[in-house]
């Protein structure tokens, strides 16, 4: 399904992608576009600092309205976990003890490294509140790009293994202190630490019951094609292609989900007449003529114009080589990925202003209101 239709119809639009392909920018640009017609939130995980400034989001902050109907929220895993614990702690005294325990510090450190767990929970609460028509998610930079989607399944396995139910009977767990299992565990960890774990878990059995409910609800939303769509963002670089193919295979074959669109970011389209510039390299007489023409057209002195022509030839040659590679790479990708393809041409500067986001969204989706081909004429190989 085309991105434009997803943004008009779905409740949740997810962007997946391997690292460094500009997922965050694409997600923000798509959300900006959608906000022209629907109340939209982009949940962003790790924006470049200047983009975060442009969106006005700060770590740990509540959602902010960037422009009318366009809201942004940045995920802070540690803060989200603290919030969750605070909500369920039976008393301030217990809360203080939990926050001071080594177990909790380690747990929150670990969560800081696995944003997908917290992202999933935060996302669930946002959807539950129903404040937005559409939520756009920029997924975390996971070890594996599918970890975000696989999170729920992993947690459900934990619940189903019975481990949680066993551990959350505090009496049973505390009795471990002198038993056989305690001796086994003591080979791994200290008694003091085990007491902290028991303390934590005993206090929060209600939290884990709720968590199980949330995890199952979230999984149901993710696989519901009426409500949710999945997109892959990629670059056209040589290295990105097998990574994106791998990601696509995992999503479609292992998780059995469908990929709606594939967005090729920072694409260098073939441009008209570039070979003719490259040909100047071989043709000294014409090159001299070109210097004169540039002088006449721009009023530059001959020295500058000559430097320009020499550099233009080298840069054009470089551009041609890259654009040809991009074309080849994307063709290989299109042969193995079955989804709607969208192209965003490379821009001279990194995007970190609202203006930049608007430009990206116009490349991707056309101007709001006018249904237009987002693919540059020569970009669709």
């Amino acid at each position: 399904m085309k991105l434009e239709d997803q943004l008009a119809m779905k409740q949740l639009v997810v962007f997946l992608g391997t690292g460094g392909v500009g997922k965050t920018t694409v997600a923000a640009a798509a959300a900006y576009h959608a906000s022209q017609g629907r109340k939209t939130l982009v949940l962003t995980i790790d924006p470049a600092r200047r983009l975060a400034d442009a969106l006005g989001v700060k770590l740990g902050s509540e959602p902010v309205e960037v422009t009318p109907n366009f809201h942004a929220q940045m995920l802070d895993t540690k803060a989200a976990l603290d919030k969750l614990i605070t909500r369920y702690a039976p008393s301030p005294e217990v809360l203080r003890r939990i926050f001071a325990s080594k177990f909790y510090q380690q747990l929150s450190d670990a969560f800081a490294g696995s944003e997908e767990f917290v992202a999933m929970g935060t996302l669930h609460d946002i959807l539950q509140d129903g404040k937005y028509d559409l939520v756009v998610v920029d997924t975390p930079p996971s070890k594996h790009a599918v970890d975000f989607l696989a999170t729920n399944a992993k947690l459900i396995r934990v619940f189903e293994s019975g481990l949680v139910k066993y551990l959350f009977k505090p009496t049973k767990f505390l009795r471990l202190g002198s038993g056989y299992l305690a001796n086994v565990l003591a080979r791994w960890t200290s008694q003091e630490y085990l007491k902290e774990v028991a303390d934590f878990m005993g206090t929060f059995d209600q939290m884990f019951l709720d968590m199980e409910k949330r995890v199952r609800a979230m999984q149901a939303i993710l696989v519901d094609r009426q409500r949710t769509s999945l997109n892959i963002v990629t670059s056209a670089e040589y290295e990105s292609i097998p990574m994106t193919q791998g990601l696509y295979n995992e999503v479609t074959k292992e998780l059995k989900l469908r990929v709606d669109a594939c967005i090729v970011n920072r694409y260098l389209p073939r441009l008209k007449g570039m070979e003719a510039v490259v040909d100047l390299r071989e043709d000294k007489a014409f090159r001299q003529g070109a210097v004169r023409r540039v002088t006449e057209a721009t009023g530059a002195n001959a020295e500058d114009a000559e430097a320009f022509i020499l550099d233009a030839v080298r840069a054009a040659q470089f551009y041609e080589v890259l654009a040809t590679q991009h074309e080849t790479n994307v063709r290989a990708l299109q042969a193995s990925v079955s989804a709607e393809f969208h192209f965003i041409p490379a821009l001279p500067h990194s995007v970190h202003t609202l203006e930049g986001l608007r430009a990206i969204s116009e490349h991707l989706l056309g101007r709001p209101g006018a249904r237009s081909g987002s693919v540059p004429a020569s970009a669709n190989p």
Partner: protein
């Protein structure tokens, strides 16, 4: 120094870390070293392609790829520590163990480090290269032994401390950060470099990958480009004057040049930031053509006789 040398490559996803790791491995093997390349992030498609590229290279030594099977490593670690005979199998097969391994913090990192430790004690290789996890995970990876040591007991704790000592010994281990000259990768490189130093590890080298060639640096050329980019009338005049002689499209040319120039300027700025780290930099040019790419990257890596800059 006893045992093989260990190089750990870290860096943000998408900067070409795996390519640099493979080029380093292939280059060392071409010089007669026995090299093991370990991939912390397994991706069959990427690996197949790199194996294929490395196949064409004349090796004086030996190059072995090994995919890191995280789960098997955790089991191996558990066996070492538990040492309970038949009971061990019972525990490893239990669904509770299985599900815990999926979510337990730090256990995968520790298991991988345990593998490195065992390999480093062996004599099968001269050089072990770990194509490490991406930055965020890279930090947790390096911190795993320290973070987990206080909560662990017995053998596991001893092992974690031995691993940490190995990682901090500059004679045994070096950290190499791979980046591109772009905002986010550079920012993560700075964070990573700070964490590496804070943790008492040795940052050997920063590799700046996909470096753009020096085009449009001439101030006069840049002035002409800006003037054309800003003034449609100038472009139109040049188009008319050139139209009967050539198929050159002035508008498209100016678009392409502005793009290359903009990226070049940003790259120079970011390189300046990286130089402030005062760590040797290798500048690896962007190599669009896959043919012979690995050896070109190896040639650009200043990791052999050390030197700074391009």
């Amino acid at each position: 120094m006893a045992g093989p040398r260990l190089s750990i490559l870290l860096g943000k996803g998408g900067v070409g870390r795996t390519t640099v790791a493979t080029a380093l491995a292939a280059g060392l093997a071409s010089q007669g070293k026995r090299v093991l390349l370990l991939g912390a992030v397994s991706n069959a498609d990427v690996e197949a392609r790199l194996r294929n590229e490395a196949r064409g290279i004349q090796l004086q030594g030996r190059l072995e790829f090994r995919e890191v099977n995280s789960r098997a490593l955790v089991d191996e670690l558990a066996r070492t520590i538990l040492a309970m005979g038949p009971m061990t199998d019972f525990i490893l097969k239990h669904p509770a163990y299985d599900s815990m391994v999926g979510i337990m913090p730090g256990v995968h990192e520790l298991a991988l480090l345990n593998l490195l430790y065992n390999l480093q004690k062996g004599n099968e290789f001269d050089h072990i290269i770990l194509d490490g996890p991406a930055t965020g995970h890279g930090l947790h990876f390096l911190e795993a032994p320290e973070k987990s040591s206080p909560i662990m007991a017995g053998k596991l704790r001893e092992r974690a401390e031995a691993i940490r000592a190995m990682l901090q010994d500059p004679a045994a281990t070096e950290m190499i950060v791979v980046t591109t000259a772009e905002e986010m990768p550079v920012r993560e490189t700075l964070e990573l470099a700070a964490a590496i130093r804070r943790g008492g590890f040795h940052l050997e080298h920063v590799v700046v990958n996909r470096w753009l060639p020096a085009v449009l640096d001439h101030p006069g050329a840049a002035r002409v480009l800006r003037s054309l980019a800003e003034d449609e009338a100038q472009r139109a005049k040049l188009s008319r004057s050139i139209a009967h002689k050539s198929r050159i499209n002035v508008d498209q040319l100016v678009t392409a040049l502005t793009l290359v120039k903009g990226q070049r300027d940003e790259a120079l700025e970011h390189r300046g930031t990286l130089e402030s780290l005062q760590v040797p930099l290798s500048i690896v040019p962007l190599i669009p053509d896959p043919e012979g790419r690995l050896m070109k990257v190896w040639d650009a890596l200043a990791l052999k006789p050390r030197e700074v800059g391009a």
